[in-house]
Symmetry: C2
Subunit: 398 residues, 2 copies
């Protein structure tokens, strides 16, 4: 096996960027008394090493010690994927055998624990991402059993918080995602039309997401196109069917552009025909509230203050909105493009800083209708800069 890994898909950033990310992660580990952070969130694995592949459906992780380079541990057949997409030394890439996978009485985390013990880390304090999708209660129990001398601390969201402030190179990735999103939204607005099957419109949307632009390709967004239509607009997370769009109905489109796992999400609502006054009125209120939130977002302001600007604006309208109006976003993998750190809602006193990035999505869902109009924005010293430029309002196709 060659010492130098083949790199058909090298990391998206230069080595110095990864080194800085790891240094910031270690500083937070020290604050929390964590000696080895076990990173199971694929976005965090990518953030720290560049690792990229659809292998997160099996247990895998990057172990980040304070005193040695990160170590990738995953399924044997994915070890070449780690060599292909990271700059880790081949000796820091460990693949486990297939016979621990989906086998009663065994678990891949048994093998992971063995690797960690073999590194001499058996008695260390490990940080675990206790609320990540890709660490199960069973996996946690296997780690505890396999590392009987270790201590376990909560390392949940530790790296997510490091990710909150984006580097210039990351902002450039999100700008590329925004260019893709603009093409995607233009395609979507064109495709949603009376008599067209929902699946045919989404086929065009999905193709635009993956195609990207002539200058750079699209990556798969962490969430598939969400496209509730007609009475389905009363809830945000329905996907599509093969029923045709109908005149006289609204369709909510929540879509993203994605480049090298960086997202620019956006929601728009399309109405086919002449919208009922309640929908047109709601659209005007939502846009006014969204604009107020964007105007309020700048360094030094809290998340709840941004939401407050929205809330004050819509208070006079009679519309009610009980869920949060936005969240931190950027690099991610399925099933979510949100970072699970800051939310734009009452009580969240996180302070906005330059180069944070949010998706502000003040959706309104009533008993049998709804509307979403959103913007993904970059916090700059001059205020919120929306990443993408798409007509901000109810889109009416007469």
């Amino acid at each position: 096996m060659p010492d130098i890994a083949p790199q058909p898909q090298p990391p998206a950033f230069p080595p110095a960027e990864y080194e800085a990310r790891i240094a910031r992660t270690r500083a937070r580990m020290e604050e929390r008394g964590i000696e080895v952070l076990l990173v199971t969130d694929p976005a965090n694995m990518n953030y720290l090493t560049g690792y990229d592949g659809w292998s997160f459906y099996v247990p895998q992780l990057v172990a980040v010690p304070l005193d040695a380079p990160p170590v990738w541990i995953g399924r044997g057949i994915d070890a070449n994927g780690a060599r292909a997409t990271t700059s880790l030394a081949v000796t820091d890439i460990h693949g486990y055998a297939d016979d621990v996978l989906h086998w009663p009485g065994r678990h891949p985390m048994d093998a992971v624990a063995e690797v960690l013990r073999g590194r001499g880390w058996g008695a260390r304090t490990f940080g675990l991402e206790m609320d990540s999708y890709y660490l199960s209660p069973r996996g946690f129990a296997a780690l505890q059993a396999g590392l009987p001398d270790a201590r376990f601390a909560d390392g949940d969201l530790l790296v997510n918080w490091v990710r909150a402030i984006k580097s210039p190179a990351e902002i450039a990735m999100m700008d590329r995602a925004a260019r893709i999103l603009e093409a995607v939204m233009a395609t979507a607005i064109e495709a949603v039309a009376p008599g067209v099957r929902q699946c045919d419109a989404v086929a065009a949307i999905a193709a635009a997401q993956v195609r990207g632009t002539g200058d750079f390709g699209g990556d798969y967004p962490s969430i598939v196109p969400m496209l509730p239509s007609g009475p389905g607009t009363s809830t945000p997370h329905l996907t599509w069917s093969d029923a045709p769009f109908k005149t006289g109905e609204a369709t909510i489109m929540e879509l993203a552009g994605c480049h090298r796992r960086y997202h620019c999400p956006m929601a728009r609502t399309v109405f086919l025909g002449t919208p009922p006054p309640r929908l047109a009125d709601a659209a005007a209120v939502v846009v006014e509230g969204l604009n107020a939130a964007l105007d309020a977002a700048k360094p030094g302001v809290t998340c709840e203050e941004v939401e407050g600007a929205w809330r004050r604006t819509i208070a006079k309208s009679g519309l009610v909105k009980e869920s949060r109006i936005g969240y931190s976003t950027g690099l991610n993998y399925p099933p979510d493009w949100g970072e699970h750190t800051m939310s734009l809602r009452p009580g969240d006193r996180s302070v906005l800083q330059a180069d944070m990035t949010f998706h502000c999505i003040p959706g309104i869902w009533m008993d049998d209708w709804g509307i979403e109009i959103s913007e993904c924005f970059h916090v700059t010293e001059q205020g919120a800069r929306p990443f993408a430029s798409v007509e901000r309002g109810l889109i009416v196709k007469p």
Copy 2:
């Protein structure tokens, strides 16, 4: 709120099918001493109730008691999604408020526990899917804290095993997925060509997956197109880049057709130009071994016997294959279309029964090249019936 839920996207099967699934689930619960099964796997939630939506990125579940109808508990804004896609009574759909989500010191499972206590189930024995993607260690801890009088048992894979034998209506869904897959593979084989950007080929593939056929639309597969190319073929789970395909290189395409969440997956390998003898030879061996496995697969045979037929066939070739050659498949959600029950590998003595469905994927990955040729098949009394019809061999585009 109306008593009758609006149903823009009604369940895929008639009520009797869901009732039979729930009855089989309860029989297994009784065997394991489980009084209430908490189903967090979205495929299992769909299987038992029809619930469908991209909401699994937040904690949600279907609680199945022995003595009452199932109860959906999820995020408030998704409750209308449960009304739209299931036949559950409105009183059996509970939405939690947004202020437990992504908030330090709170967890949605706090709210879930409150609903369960409110049903009078606080002292029951709950079965949990301890190795599912969508139950975290933190969520499990919140359930334990919120249900101090309850007992917890492992209900992992309980419903997955109920899913192993498909009904005629489910087989019909997979046949539809196979029709979609045939269109997808034809598109893929056409699209992979020298100088074409990988992302442009995948755009065409993704569109074909979603478009489906003229008779029925496509759904999103649980795994995006995997498309390792050139040296990337040494590992199976790389997605695409925007680099162009090159003459003289192989590309592995692992793709699925999907309809109403039912999958028909398949892998093929395309070579642009004249394949090197080692690849052409490997393709012949893989096809011979795959054919032997398909010939061996019939009711009464074990999973390891199917793998043995493959193993004996390739033994003479010098090729080595250490990972499993297949797994049970069907209904699923991201990140996997495998069911995590049976695997075609040594030691798995599960007995094949009529109407089980498998993906037999004997991939070979070497240091700097690889090949995959697979079939998704239906176990019938007459033997294995491949769902889709696509030329079985290395696809050479001179």
